[in-house]
């Protein structure tokens, strides 16, 4: 096996992932600490100016580090990861001050076709699902597929939400979904197997600016309910951080 334990204050494993990537997994046993570790490490790698390094994709407890195997190598990148970890041991894994986003949502009906199904599965009524979904301040854990979706730990539901047996071929942009113990907003139309409980009229994705989505992992997000007739009044507006 390609894994190896690393002598650092933070338990870490580095796995080969082909000739152009490494998977680095934090293994402290504490999910919150692991998440902070992999995101801080990704931030360090992104700003370290390492030749041949394409970038780092941090998620929950792991970060995928991609590189050009002509300009550098798995061995060299591994050494940089260890250097980064030693620096983080020294400086701590402080992330930047979170920004807050507030997202209007029309729940149910054609905007959230799976709301009833989710309520039934949870043994709650529809209003209770909406109340729990809007009650929580979510932390954006990572950017996922498609198009930099904000992946968040889900609302306080009694049981995990099963995925759809037949994934939809296209879920519209703005769809607000839950699956397992996770919650997400779809920045762009794409196929999807998550349960869609609502839709926001705000545009999340702006292809004319870089980066394309306004949030970064660590930012906070809340949903609030709007009536169906207000959906159109948000047309053309982009999701923005609260001042």
């Amino acid at each position: 096996m390609s894994a190896s334990a690393i002598a650092s204050r933070t338990a870490l494993e580095i796995y080969e992932s082909g000739d152009a990537a490494l998977r680095v997994v934090a293994q402290s046993g504490d999910a919150e600490a692991d998440w902070a570790t992999v995101h801080s490490l990704a931030g360090w790698l992104a700003t370290a100016g390492i030749e041949g390094l394409h970038g780092a994709v941090p998620t929950y407890d792991s970060v995928l580090v991609e590189f050009d195997p002509y300009l550098t190598s798995a061995r060299q990148v591994r050494a940089f990861v260890l250097l980064g970890m030693r620096q983080l041991d020294f400086t701590g894994t402080s992330l930047r001050e979170p920004r807050r986003f507030e997202v209007p949502v029309v729940y149910g009906g054609e905007y959230g076709p799976d709301l009833g199904r989710v309520a039934e599965h949870q043994g709650l009524d529809v209003e209770d699902i909406i109340a729990r979904h809007t009650a929580k301040t979510y932390v954006i854990r990572c950017l996922g597929a498609p198009a930099g979706s904000p992946m968040m730990d889900g609302p306080e539901f009694p049981v995990p939400v099963p995925r759809l047996k037949d994934p939809r071929l296209s879920v519209p942009a703005g769809a607000v979904s839950v699956a397992g113990r996770q919650a997400v907003i779809a920045p762009a139309a794409a196929p999807g197997g998550w349960c869609v409980i609502g839709q926001t009229p705000l545009s999340v994705l702006d292809v004319s600016r870089e980066p394309l989505v306004p949030y970064v992992p660590g930012d906070q997000l809340r949903f609030y309910r709007i009536p169906e007739e207000d959906f159109g009044s948000f047309a053309g507006q982009f999701l923005k951080a609260r001042p």
Binding site: E16, H54, V57, Y60, S62, L64
Partner: protein, 337 residues
Amino acid sequence: MTGSLVILQPGHSVVTDLGRTQGPAFGLPVNGALDQYSAKAANILAGNEENEPLLELTALDFRMRATTDLLIAVSGAPLDLTVGGRECPQWEPVSVRAGEVVAVRGIRTGLRAYIAVHGSFTVPRLLGSCAPDTVVGFGVKLVQGSELETRKTTAPITHPYFGLPLFRLGLTKPTFTTNPVIDVTDGPDVAEFGDTADLLFTTQYTVSPRSNHIGLRLGGALPERQLTSEVLSRGVPVGAIEVPSREELLVLHRGRGVTAGYPVMAVVTSRSLDLLAQARPGHTVTFRKTTVAEATATHRAACLELDRLRITIRTVFGLLGIGAGERWHELSPASGA
């Protein structure tokens, strides 16, 4: 002087480059030319930097008309190339006179071909790349009548008496086959598949028609994950081999979603990803195990071959006065600011 060309028959063509390497950190797939070696070679043969925008053709016939004199190079899968009705060689620089039609017909054995134009195209970029991203709706859409502006024109370079193509560089081109052998290294989760992981190396897989730039689906005996625990979403590399269903093996290519929750059993090497980019539905694929060190060496050998090609082209183009060398007069003057 800027030049241009007009698409007459787009077939299935896109303007792309080597990919959006900054994309994955923002949740966007890298995308870009699926056969990176052929794309780099086309650009080098056309006297460009290897990462400049070029055309990627997939499977279907293609025609374009040069509005100005151009220098082009066509690489990738075997095909029939004509310029102004003349048969022209692939994997060589080719002069195109203003008004002439460039036609690509009969892409065979492989699936994808590349056309680079000296001076490349002026096209919009997102996070440093012009590669189309169908999910966010970015990229130049090529239809009949689309006009592409090139940064340069190149006066025709042909034999003065017979009009024959001048270039006969005789470069070695990669071989294309209908049953490629694909090198893979152990994935980070190979242990989760137990002994069934060995099936990958003893089975002949058939490429499914449901394959695309996101991933290839392969039919054959499938390794089986021995665990049932949930996997947290995590970044998956291009080339990752997963078993998401009981029907097919999935090999992720450059259009892959950046994160997923399936275990990664093996990862296709950079060099073999180019071969997979050329695999057509119905072709058979055999996997061979290698190490990261060996895969890196193979990749570097291919890059060195391209470096040698670049030196040859620079020498030839320099002698002919084609601006492939250091274009010192185009550089902005050094400034103390």
